[in-house]
């Protein structure tokens, strides 16, 4: 399974090293960026399949913050790269629901395993999102419509049930949204 992977890493030598590894593993690297602001721009431009993200970017906004935004805005999976992992960082990183966490230094095998797992996982997530979107919209839209029509067209018992269905559908929608 090949894919396009964007590297966000402020140490140029490390970044080049990773790119070489990725290329030899058969991945495309649409770009290397060294700052958080550039990372968002590049993600928007190139829409990669995955982002390898250094947590310590030496800027106001670190990799974790950027990763969160990438997930929220573009639904693109992020695998963290970091030289060390203190508890606080791990806790913060965990909250962004990353698709992987690689400790530096790492070898090609570790890199490829993490990426494969991340791409596989995000592929399934995307499939679930895409395949359920219209069906869920029909459940939510249909039930909302009935609730809007209200007592004019339905009796209370029906509306109570419809409300339960709508709420349950919203729960599923939220779960899928968070994937």
């Amino acid at each position: 399974m090949n894919g396009r992977i964007l590297i966000v890493e402020d140490e140029k030598v490390v970044a080049m090293d990773i790119r070489t590894m990725l290329k030899s593993l058969g991945y495309d690297v649409p770009g290397i960026v060294s700052s958080s602001e550039k990372a968002l721009k590049k993600v928007e431009e190139t829409k990669p399949d995955l982002v390898l993200m250094d947590i310590m970017l030496g800027e106001k906004r670190d990799g974790i913050e950027i990763a969160q935004e990438i997930r929220d805005r573009f639904k693109i999976p992020v695998v963290y790269l970091t030289a060390y992992a203190d508890d606080d960082t791990i806790q913060r990183a965990k909250k962004t629901n990353p698709h992987g966490y690689i400790l530096k230094p790492f070898d090609e095998k570790e890199l490829s395993t993490s990426i494969e797992i991340a791409l596989y996982k995000s592929g399934i997530e995307r499939k679930i999102r895409e395949e359920t979107e219209n069906a869920l919209a029909t459940i939510i839209g249909g039930t909302e419509l009935m609730l809007e029509e209200g007592f004019q067209r339905h009796d209370r018992e029906t509306l109570d049930k419809v409300r339960l269905i709508r709420n349950a559908a919203n729960i599923i929608a939220q779960i899928i949204e968070k994937l």
Binding site: E130, N134, L145, R156
Partner: protein, 267 residues
């Protein structure tokens, strides 16, 4: 209450939302006509225009209100007109409204003490369009121009097939609560309803047959991938169609798209 005419269109079968204004929720099971009759004061003249003569159950219901309906009927304090019997003869909307006006006007002339008028469209098979709604509204406005009037909800919308008509009647600007006349929180100006109806149907009309087909598949819950398979086109083409449909309808998310499709009965 005395200087208002109370027109109730249709029986409030169950939980009509206007019913909430009068009743607390537990009492909403009262059916409309009984509700109508319920509030009658002694010696108050009432006109009830319906598809049917009030059935017996109403009489049981209203005994609690201190009114003997049979006595009221005998003494002509309570007049019923069963429109169902006449409606067969009514061929067009104009003669229908003429008939209504005649009845209401003669009732008003007859009775100095104004009370209630109840009209139900039950058993009607007239199909309404926008023009019909406009004349109904205009005619009723004319009839009731001298006094504040309260329009209550229609009967069974699905049977009448005119949600739009209901919307206009339902949302009259004035309602009465505990003998106090106040502005209806549900009021929507008819022009606004009509114009929104027009734009909605125009918007739908602007879709091509292919787009309507795709919209139908979306409402049926098919993913873009499955729609593509079904229509033997690429997923990208499906997505392009979807974007175009949403742009045409000025809708920005799929839930609203589905709602629009259901309202337009594209299922």
């Amino acid at each position: 209450m005395n200087d208002s005419i109370f027109i109730q269109l249709g029986i409030l079968k169950q939980h009509d939302h206007l019913c909430h204004i009068y009743y607390n929720e537990t009492e909403c099971h009262e059916i409309g006509a009984s509700f109508f009759v319920h509030g009658i004061k002694r010696n108050e003249k009432c006109l009830y225009i319906s598809g049917k003569i009030l059935p017996k159950e109403f009489i049981y219901r209203i005994t609690g209100s201190g009114i003997d309906l049979n006595k009221a009927r005998r003494e002509k304090d309570f007049e019923e007109v069963a429109l169902g019997m006449h409606v067969k003869k009514i061929k067009d909307p104009d003669s229908y409204i003429r008939f209504l006006r005649l009845k209401i006007e003669s009732f008003l002339k007859d009775s100095k003490k104004i009370s209630r008028i109840l009209i139900t469209n039950e058993d009607f098979s007239i199909s309404y369009n926008n023009a019909d709604i406009a004349w109904q509204k205009a005619s009723l406005d004319k009839i009731c121009s001298e006094k504040p009037i309260i329009l209550m909800n229609q009967y069974e919308i699905r049977r009448i097939g005119s949600e739009d008509l209901v919307n206009i009647f339902r949302t009259h600007p004035k309602v009465i609560l505990k003998d106090v006349l106040f502005d209806s929180p549900f009021y929507v100006a008819p022009d606004r309803i009509l114009s929104s109806l027009n734009t909605e149907s125009n918007k739908y009309g602007s879709l091509t047959n292919k787009e309507k087909g795709i919209l139908r598949h979306i409402v049926n819950g098919l993913s873009s991938k499955n729609i593509a398979k079904e229509l033997s086109i690429s997923v990208k083409t499906v997505e392009t169609h979807r974007v175009r449909i949403m742009r045409k309808l000025e809708i920005h998310n799929i839930v609203d798209l589905v709602k629009f499709a259901m309202k337009s009965r594209i299922t």
